[in-house]
Amino acid sequence: MPKHLASACVTLALLATIPSCRDDERGELIAVRKQTRLLAPATDELDALCSDLGDQRVCWAAHCARGVCVHERPLPAISQGAPRAYRCTGDGDARECHLRSRRAPPFRCHAGRCYQEQPRLPDDGDWECVDLAGVALCRGGSKPAGLAATATDPGWFCGDRRGKAFERICLDLDPDLPESLPSPRCRYELDGARLRRSCERADSPRIGARCSPAENRCPAGSACLQGVCLPPRPEPSCWGDFDCGRGTCVYGTCVEDGY
């Protein structure tokens, strides 16, 4: 415990010896502890590339079977909702979560379709995005003009787009989804530079869904590994096959020999 914290605690302890005067006719002021950080450590290993995906936490690492380890998604000890109500970023002991509703607008639903204004994007720049079987892929990110400070959203995997000097490709394996639509299909609608995320009910296969290798019901470009539909290890660099030479662009990653 830091020294200044210790002295503060001693002071508070001494104050407690003074007869209480806080109780008055208005009642007792409730001492509120603020949960600003919700830690949810994960058993990630060094040199592994990890992300939350569906109800799992997936790590791409050399020692894992077929290069992928899948665990149950760790949640903060104080949870207030469904597992997907939290968006968690960071690795290992530093993995931290926040309620999605605190950093992104809620979905508003009407006639079977749900809309999210101001959806999450990789940073403060201008982006164009698509939803590919439940994962968000964006391109753009040129530096926005006239802003005091810019920040990046740590939940994205990003890389420079091949052959483009000022364009980046970013991938979010754990985008926001409307709670009221199980297994939805989403898309991004563009109005000028403004994006809106729109989702509707669908039963189409999704990245992160449970699967069986025998049934082969995973979305195109993904593989059923460890019982989960998984994209290739994220190394975002492409928007289409045209960026990958003789390879193919799979969820933003150039794959040379198929996946």
Partner: protein, 659 residues
């Protein structure tokens, strides 16, 4: 006593555990029931001020976001109260569940602007189930109202806004009417409700007569546009729109309902094009390498850009943050325009809950500050014929005309700078326009676009505006104030940089050029005049050249009733003279100069000579007379540099006596 010390020690241990940042949340206290209390529409600090009665039944309370989790002793009944909220009661039979704090009172007022000299009404409703009125007190702040009264035992406030500014009546047809922060006549009306139990609830609404407007063709979706005169029709509009121009007092109002290009035909049959968009639908790509990259780079470090971020670095009361959203962010509070406040509403956030600037969601960071669109407006680049309008002081007055706090534009309006191009000749003659118009000045100092910002001939005079002296997106601008840095001639090389740096824009126009023009800078610096006989430079002392700030080191006074920006009236601060000169009156140079002219048989003259008269004439006598005129031209010569001015008069007098 021993028992107390033991209790204290135990408390210390508990605190040590509680203060740990990496504490793993413990299990719920034994024998307690968790209850979640959501803050609802109230500000977040209502949860932090929650009180429980009786004492000791709340075993633990932790807050995450807008939800407070209370662990209450099983079977206990508890009453919860928070400022401005209806009391909540949890009886002993309550099992784990969720409650919401509801505001004690609600005010319903007019939506949008009510117009000038217009009546309005605000109604107070007590939202608590067992509400009992003790008293309601109403307070107003901001623009004065023409009338105000209460009805129905204080539950109803009735008022009337003030009349329209007189300049609105002078707006010409097809002119986009600008409305400054002060001209909108916004009044904040607050109700203080005291209930029978003594608890107090406070709620406020703002009522304004008109919407703010920069008077630019780039407007935000949902923004009310005002145009001079009546009788407009829409010639072009985005498909699907239904909005139409409507009479609005002596003006015409249009609230565009869809983004895109609008073309209106005015009562004078002229076209007015408007570009309408949400702020957040405009790409912030102005800084692309082939466009405005240097301006964008300069804007990154501008205090305008950081106007919201500063709040997080120098915390202000939450009330200040609320009222500042209109000027420290991009977009208009209360309007669905894709600006900061709109994004805040879409996120479901309350203004008092903003964490750090870096933690704001992207939409809030992009509009958090006065960014490019904050001044230029959303939409596309305006048509070439309308690009002059960005130079109008109205663009700055959108925020900087808000006395008593921000009096910059109000002070400037009272200065000669605001009147510089009142005479039409000053706008037509290129030599005059160089210093009498903003566009002409910017062209002359190399910051313009070669006359492309010249307003049409029938545009109203606009003076030397903010943009002449303030270079808001120029990396070389002098701080504080983002003052334009103008490259001056070699003759100013030995003037202290502390004087020239902050006054180079003044010097650029108040100095002579090719032997003609104003004489004040030449007299202030004690140089720039040729001897009438020998044509040798007449060099003298320059005691005031060492005044820090140069011209604005003394010309910094203005209306006393404004907190900031009064110096934009450019009046002399007589207090500054006292530090060195005490109460001594300036030398009476004018009388002496007139006496010389009388003795020479050419005077006296009334008022200072015109710039053209100062052109160097032929012959020593004519030149000596011109020297006298030169001193007279600078009405401040006796203050700027009395020693030098007197020396010039002496020299002129000697030559005139000889001839």
């Amino acid at each position: 006593m021993l028992a107390r010390l033991l209790r204290a020690a135990a408390f210390g241990l508990v605190c040590a555990a509680a203060c740990s940042d990496r504490e793993s949340p413990s299990e719920a206290p034994q024998g307690s029931v968790p209850i979640r209390v959501n803050v609802g529409e109230l500000p977040l600090d209502a949860l932090d001020a929650l009180r429980a009665k009786p004492t000791g039944v709340v075993k633990r309370a932790s807050r995450s976001g807008r939800t407070l989790t209370l662990h209450i002793a099983r079977g206990a009944s508890v009453a919860l109260t928070a400022p401005g909220a209806c009391p909540l009661t949890v009886d002993g039979a309550f099992d784990a569940g969720e409650l919401e704090l509801r505001p004690r009172i609600a005010l319903s007022g007019p939506a949008g602007e009510v117009g000038y000299d217009a009546p309005f009404e605000i109604t107070l409703r007590d939202l608590c189930p067992r509400g009992a009125l003790a008293s309601v007190r109403w307070e107003t702040e901001g623009a004065e109202l023409a009338a105000a009264d209460t009805r129905d035992g204080g539950y109803r406030f009735v008022g009337r806004t003030v009349g329209a500014p007189v300049e609105f009546g002078r707006a010409s047809p097809s002119q986009l009417v600008a409305v400054s922060a002060a001209q909108r006549a916004e009044t904040r009306i607050t109700a203080r409700f005291t209930a029978a139990d003594g608890s107090v609830a406070v709620s406020s609404v703002s009522v304004s007569a008109a919407p703010r407007s920069r008077g630019l063709p780039n407007v935000a979706l949902g923004e009310r546009i005002l145009l001079g005169g009546r009788g407009y029709r829409v010639r072009e509009r985005p498909p699907g729109s239904v909005a139409d121009p409507m009479p609005w007092g002596a003006l015409t109002s249009l609230i565009p309902d869809l983004g895109g290009r609008w073309v209106l035909i005015g009562p004078d049959s002229r076209e007015t094009s408007l570009f309408v968009a949400r702020y957040d639908s405009v790409a912030l790509d102005c800084g692309r390498s082939d466009c405005h990259s240097t301006q964008a780079r300069a804007a990154e470090g501008s205090p305008m850009t950081a106007s919201l971020r500063r709040f997080f670095e120098e915390p202000l009361p939450s009330s200040s943050i609320t009222c500042s959203f209109g000027c420290h962010t991009t977009g208009e509070p209360g309007r669905a325009d894709g600006g900061f406040s709109h994004a805040l509403a879409e996120l479901g956030w309350h203004h008092a809950e903003l964490p750090s600037f870096a933690e704001l969601p992207r939409a809030l960071r992009r509009a958090g500050g006065v960014n490019c669109l904050g001044c230029h407006g959303p939409g596309q680049i305006p048509e070439p014929s309308a690009r002059w309008s960005i130079l109008k002081s109205d663009v700055c007055a959108y925020c900087h005309d808000a006395p008593p706090r921000y009096g910059h534009v109000a002070a400037w309006r009272g200065s000669a700078m605001a009147e510089s191009d009142r005479a039409p000749a000053t706008r037509i003659n290129a030599e005059c326009a160089r210093c009498h118009t903003t566009w002409g000045f910017l062209d002359a100092v190399g910051s313009g676009v070669e006359g492309r910002r010249m307003p049409p001939a029938d545009a109203p005079a606009m003076g030397i505006t903010c943009a002449a002296c303030h270079a808001v997106h120029d990396e070389s601008a002098v701080r504080p104030g983002l003052l334009r840095r103008v490259t001056l001639g070699q003759e100013f090389d030995d003037i202290p940089s502390s004087a020239v740096e902050r006054s180079s824009t003044c010097i650029a126009c108040h100095s002579q050029r090719e032997g003609r023009g104003p004489s004040s800078v030449a007299i202030w610096t004690g140089r720039g005049v040729l001897d009438p006989e020998t044509s040798a430079p007449l060099i003298g002392p320059a005691p005031h050249a060492a005044v820090p700030g140069g011209c604005i080191g003394c010309h910094r006074a203005g209306p006393s009733e404004v907190e900031r920006g009064s110096g934009h009236a450019f009046r002399v601060d007589r207090g500054a003279c006292k530090a060195c000169h005490g109460d001594r009156a300036p030398t009476r140079l004018e009388e002496r100069a007139h006496a010389i002219l009388v003795r020479a048989g050419v005077g006296p003259r009334s008022g200072p000579p015109a710039h053209a008269e100062l052109h160097q004439p032929q012959g020593p006598r004519e030149r000596a007379l011109a020297l006298v005129q030169f001193v007279l031209e600078d009405r401040g010569a006796a203050t700027h540099n009395p020693q030098y001015a007197e020396a010039l008069l002496e020299r002129a007098e000697r030559i005139l006596n000889q001839n």
